[in-house]
C-alpha cells in the first residue's frame, strides 16, 4: 500500500536492491537497503518517530516544552519534519562544520539551531545539549544516544524488513554512530537468524575533529552493547568516498559518505567469504553532501582531517 494519511506514515518500507556490479566476489551476493528513500532522506526518520512517540507516551511533553537534540544533521532533520506536523518546537545542537544543506533543511522545517564547536565533533554537541537540558527545564532531550527507543525502532521495523526481503542473509553491515541501527537490527537478527554475523563499519575520525582534552571526555553511547556485534572495522574517509563513487558508477545509486564506508567494509567482508549473502544498510542519499563536491573533487589529506561527513 502506498497511500498515507500523513508523511509520518510513509516512514520505512525502504527498498532493498542487489548490487551485483559493485560486489567484488561473484560467489557472494550483496544487497543494499536504501534508507535514503525515507521521507526526509535518511534512516533517522524511523528513529525520530520512535523517540517522539516515547516522549508522548511517557508524558514528558508540556505546553512550553522545547525538544532539544544533538545531531550533526539527519536526526535533527527527521525530528524537525515530525515536530512540524505535530506542533512541537525543536532546537538542534549541531557541530558548526557540518555541510550547509543540513542547516538549510532544518531552517526550512522551522527548527532552531545552536552551534557547537566543530573541533569537538559530535561529542561536543552531545555535551552541550545535555548541559542545556540540565540548566533549563523547558528543554526535553529525546537523546538518541541513550534512549532505548532508538534501537527499538530498528528492532521493530528495519530488522523486520531486512528479514522479509532477504531471509537468506549471512552478514549484516551497518555504520556505527549512535549504534542504534546495529543494536536494534543486530538483536532481532540474532533472535531470528542464528549464525548471522553483525559487522560495524566505524569511521576513522579526522585528526582535527578529535578535540578531546583527556580520555575522560571519551564517550560510549549508553545504548551500545558490544556483545551484539561480531566485528568492528575502521574505514577511512578516503575509502568511504571511493566506495560511494564506485556505487554511483556501477549501480547508479547516489548515497552518502557513511554509506560508502559501510559498503567498503561490506566489500572487505564479501571478499573473505566463500559463498553467501551480505546486506549493507545505506543510511542516507548523497544530496546533503553535494556542497562538498565529493563526486568531482578529491579532498586533500588536510581537508579530510577536518571534515564531518559521517
Amino acid at each position: 500500500m502506498s497511500r498515507y494519511s500523513s508523511l509520518i506514515d510513509a516512514i520505512g518500507h525502504t527498498p532493498m536492491v542487489e548490487i551485483a556490479r559493485f560486489a567484488p566476489n561473484p560467489a557472494v551476493r550483496m544487497f543494499a537497503k536504501l534508507e535514503g528513500m525515507n521521507p526526509t532522506g535518511s534512516v533517522k526518520d524511523r528513529v525520530a518517530l520512535y523517540l517522539l512517540n516515547a516522549l508522548e507516551r511517557d508524558g514528558r511533553l508540556a505546553a512550553l516544552s522545547v525538544i532539544l537534540e544533538p545531531s550533526s544533521g539527519n536526526t535533527g532533520i527527521s525530528l524537525a519534519m515530525i515536530c512540524r506536523l505535530r506542533g512541537y518546537l525543536l532546537t538542534v545542537v549541531m557541530p558548526d562544520n557540518v555541510t550547509r544543506e543540513r542547516r538549510q533543511i532544518l531552517e526550512m522545517y522551522g527548527a532552531s539551531i545552536v552551534d557547537s564547536p566543530g573541533s569537538l565533533g559530535s561529542n561536543g554537541a552531545v555535551a552541550l545539549a545535555r548541559k542545556m537540558a540540565a540548566d533549563d527545564p523547558r528543554f526535553v532531550l529525546p537523546d538518541q544516544y541513550a534512549n532505548p527507543a532508538n534501537p527499538l525502532a530498528h528492532y521493530e521495523t528495519t530488522a523486520v524488513e531486512v528479514l522479509a526481503d532477504c531471509p537468506e542473509l549471512d552478514v549484516f553491515v551497518g555504520g556505527l554512530g549512535t549504534s542504534g541501527t546495529l543494536m536494534g537490527v543486530g538483536r532481532r537478527l540474532r533472535e531470528e537468524k542464528p549464525g548471522v554475523r553483525i559487522v560495524a563499519a566505524e569511521p576513522m575520525p579526522g585528526e582535527r575533529v578529535q578535540g578531546l582534552r583527556s580520555l575522560d571526555e571519551g564517550f560510549v553511547p549508553e545504548i551500545f552493547d558490544e556483545m551484539v556485534l561480531d566485528d568492528r572495522q575502521l574505514v577511512t574517509t578516503e575509502e568511504s568516498i571511493d566506495a560511494m563513487r564506485r556505487l554511483a558508477e556501477t549501480e547508479s545509486i547516489f548515497a552518502g559518505v557513511s554509506s560508502g564506508g559501510v559498503l567498503a567494509v561490506a566489500a572487505r567482508v564479501a571478499e573473505g567469504m566463500d559463498t553467501g549473502t551480505v546486506v549493507a544498510l545505506l543510511a542516507d542519499g548523497g544530496w546533503k553532501y553535494l556542497s562538498e563536491d565529493l563526486w568531482r573533487h578529491d579532498p586533500t589529506g588536510d581537508e579530510m582531517e577536518g571534515l564531518n561527513l559521517w
Binding site: 535518511s42 544533538p70 536526526t75 559530535s122 578529535q210 580520555l215 564517550f219 561480531d230 566485528d231 572495522q233
Partner: protein, 91 residues
C-alpha cells in the same frame, strides 16, 4: 617492531609523535612495551586491573581487537596498530 598510531589526545605522553614503534608478539605485549617506555601512557591505556580503559579502542589492521583476541591477539611485524579514543558518532 610494530607501528602504533597514537591519537592526538595521547600524544603528550609520547613526545608529540603521531606514530611510534613498539615490540611484542601480542597486542597486549606491544601496548605494555609502549607503556614501559612512555610513562603516563600506561595509566591512560589500562585500568588498575590491567584491562583496556573503557574509552580506549585498539585496532589491529583496522579491526577492533575486542572482536579478535583482545590483548592476546597475535601481532606480526607488518601489522599496524591504531589506538583511538571512544567518541560520539552518528547523525
Amino acid at each position: 617492531m610494530t607501528r602504533v598510531r597514537i591519537p592526538p589526545v595521547l600524544r603528550v605522553h609520547v613526545g608529540d609523535q603521531k606514530e611510534v614503534d613498539a615490540s611484542g608478539d601480542t597486542v597486549g605485549a606491544v601496548l605494555k612495551d609502549l607503556a614501559g617506555r612512555h610513562p603516563g601512557l600506561g595509566e591512560q591505556l589500562f585500568n588498575s586491573d590491567g584491562a583496556l580503559h573503557r574509552f580506549v579502542n585498539v585496532y589491529l589492521n583496522g579491526r577492533d581487537v575486542r572482536y579478535l583476541g583482545l590483548l592476546e591477539t597475535p601481532v606480526g611485524e607488518r601489522d599496524a596498530v591504531i589506538i583511538l579514543p571512544a567518541m560520539a558518532g552518528g547523525r
